[in-house]
Symmetry: C2
Subunit: 179 residues, 2 copies
């Protein structure tokens, strides 16, 4: 395998184009491994958590919500962005309860991944949440969300039929099924 250093790009300078509510946009001027220079457009995101929550009768807690960027209602796993200074596990507990009303007695981290590293630094951490208690109605003030409980095999069908089309959600479902 080639050493990392022979593939790396060196940052020469950077400029912020936009600093927003959730994302920032940055341009990095970089030197390529062969010495040429180019510009990389980079979207900065604080990172997020995704929760694969399983009920005692082995159903996946899913949500349906409208996504402006997709311009449609998507099936997703509960998820949300990390608040400044927030611990990842606490973020997962908070988002799961806000979006679905469930609180897990057991929670563990599975994997972390980049959603789209070609132009964005967003990292998502997938948690497995079990032994759920329904604490409240889902009352996330800013979000219009419908909760659905789906059997894993049915969820796989929805992935294969391309009805579920959110990357983090597909990862959570397939990860459950290979394990």
């Amino acid at each position: 395998m080639i050493e990392e250093d022979f593939l790396k790009e060196k940052t020469l300078s950077f400029t912020y184009i936009y600093q927003g509510k959730i994302i920032n946009l940055r341009q990095d001027k970089v030197k390529l491994p062969d010495g040429r220079e180019t510009v990389r457009e980079i979207v900065e995101h604080p990172g997020a958590v995704v929760i694969l929550a399983l009920t005692d009768d082995n159903k996946i807690v899913m949500i349906r919500q409208f996504r402006k960027s997709a311009d449609e209602v998507l099936w997703e796993l509960p998820a949300g962005k990390i608040e400044p200074g927030e611990d990842l596990k606490n973020c997962a507990l908070r988002e799961l309860e806000e979006e679905t009303g469930y609180y897990p007695r057991k929670i563990k981290k599975l994997i972390t991944f980049f959603s789209t590293p070609g132009f964005c630094n967003e990292k998502l951490t997938l948690f497995l949440a079990e032994d759920l208690e329904k604490r409240s109605k889902n009352e996330d003030a800013d979000e219009f969300i419908e909760v659905e409980l789906i059997k894993p095999n049915k969820a796989l069908k929805l992935v294969e039929q391309n009805i579920i089309k959110d990357a983090k959600t597909i990862i959570g479902i397939l990860y459950l099924l290979v394990n």
Copy 2:
């Protein structure tokens, strides 16, 4: 299930903050289902293809490349963005050959998904490519890429060990293994 119309947001106006080489950044002023107004930050991307290419001895064609946004070398499936007017399948054939030197005699579309629909409209289409012919060295002029052939079970281990941490790549590998 709640009807889509009761979850939808209506666009009141939009403004472009940035129109770049690969991405644009837009702000949409929207009306929520309850009548309140908010602003959505949306990154526009032309969309991309991902190729799960299998050699005759059932190895996955993977690449290692530096990603500026992640600031590290990532293991990925070959992938690339769609050129204006380009057919998805032709894009997959072009990107696979440019990045790896392989050309498939068989190719088919599996699924399409949004990489991160909370703030971005990027859609990725996953193709399965088989019956590969090595046509050329990988000579993508703009990219510094190393090609590796990996057995599916080894790839799954790399996902579970969180060494593979690119979302589209995890989807391709897990999709292969559940089928």
